[in-house]
Structures are given as structure tokens and as C-alpha cells.
Subunit: 125 residues, 2 copies
Amino acid sequence: MGRNRTFDEDDVVAQSAAIFLRQGYEGTSIDDLLAATGLHRGSLYKAFASKRGLFLATLRRTSADAATGRDDAAVDLLLVALLELAPRDPEVRALCGGALAHLTHAEAAALVGQRLLTRAHLSDQ
Amino acid sequence: MGRNRTFDEDDVVAQSAAIFLRQGYEGTSIDDLLAATGLHRGSLYKAFASKRGLFLATLRRTSADAATGRDDAAVDLLLVALLELAPRDPEVRALCGGALAHLTHAEAAALVGQRLLTRAHLSDQ
DNA sequence: ATCGTTCTTGACTGATCGGTCATCTATCTG
DNA sequence: CAGATAGATGACCGATCAGTCAAGAACGAT
């Protein structure tokens, strides 16, 4: 019953993740996300409720891959979450913690630290 | 000649650093900085030219201490610079690189990674 | 065909953003 | 004292922010 969605939610989440991991959370505007996804304002808010809601969806989608060490994009999104949201947002913090749960503290620190330097163009590794 | 300054520039830089390292760069508004420093808008722009100019001043002031491992605040500001500015701002990138210059890549990664996790309340170390 | 429901579309809102600038005040020089 | 200079103050600017909502369109059920 009711009209069908004209977009694929997985695609929208993937396209949004690409923007968030590059520009950061505060550095990304709703208009940036609308441009990247092709969605209209009302549709985005209907599907994800808020900017934070969409970010949480991207984080849930990628957090499982972050600790494998083979998905730079997933780690980049985790960096954004750790620095900008996690200190003040328990739900984001819990997702970040889950993503790194089966690593030791030292392994987790090395993973995110190395990726932070590479993302800043201070290391090519 | 001319009127004397009524504020201490070092104090203003220190107070601004405290805001930036907690809230991030994009998460900090000029009004936040005015409230924290007691400055008026015109004075801040006269002394530091822009939000970025003030951030650069805070980064220059603290970057020397970041690599000692004894100044969490300095590392936190470095984290903000690395994640939010360094990828797009060569001057910030150079300051970050200088701050970590006498560390190995692995040491630098461990330092910033460990601090990122602690700041996110995912590690008490 | 009509009704209820869901999604689409984009105009609109009040708030906030970084930054500018005219005016005023304090201080120096002569 | 008058004039020049530099800082102080805060009103103001256009742009952009996240979020809302009324109207219309597509669907299933009856």
C-alpha cells in the first residue's frame, strides 16, 4: 500500500558515506548530501529523520568492515565518528566501540592513527 | 602610537585552543570564540584576520608540545587539525608534519590513535 | 472509481554562519 | 592643544544552516 520508493536506501547510504568520510560531519551540509544522492529534502528526512540519523545509518553499514584493515573508507568514516561525534554522542560511541571490539587497544590505536596520518597526506602507507 | 591592546594575545590563543580541541574546527563558531575569550568581533578579526588565522595561531602555539606525549591538549588540537584541516590545507598539514617530525610513522600513529580513542571515551589510558 | 496510505517535490522558516565596517575612544607626536 | 594612528565596539550583511510542511502523485485495496 502507498507509493513505492524511487531510490535504493543502500545506494543513498553508500553515497552519503562517501561525502561524510571526505568532508567530515560538521563540514557536510544537507545540500551536499542531496546533491550526492539525488534525493529531495523531504525524502531524505522521511527516510532518515535527521542528518545525524543518516550518519548513523552510514556508520552502521560500514563499522563491521573498519577493523579488517582492508577498507580505508570504513576507517575514514570511523575517524570522523570518533573525533566529531563520539565524545558527545553515546550511540555513536557504542558503534565505534563495537567496530574495534575484537582488537587490542594498541592495535586499534595503530589502525586509526595510521589511517589518520595517511588521510592527512602525512604518510603514504 | 595609537591605543593599547586591552587583551593578552597569548591568553586569547590559549582560550581559543581550549574551545577548538573540544568542539572541533567546524563545530566551533566565531560566537563561541568571542564568548570564551571576551573579545569583540572586530578585535578578533583585527588580531587574527579569520577563523582559520586564529586556529593556525593555536596550532603554532601547541604543536611543539604535541609529540612529547605529556600534553593531551596539544595532541587533541593536532587531531582536530589532522582530521578537519590537513587534508585540504597545506599550511596546516605542514604544521602537523612538523609537530610529529622527530617520531617514526609508527610512533606518531600510536600517539594520535591512542589519544583519539581516549578522547572518544573508548579508552581510559 | 474512490479511498487511504505512502512517497515526492520544493518552497519556506527562523536561526546561525563567517566576515565587514562605520563610529568611537585611547594613546602617541609635535 | 591638534592631528595621526591603532584598538574597541557592536550593528549589520548576504549566505547558508538544519529542519518543516502543504500539495500532488503513485500505489494497493475495496
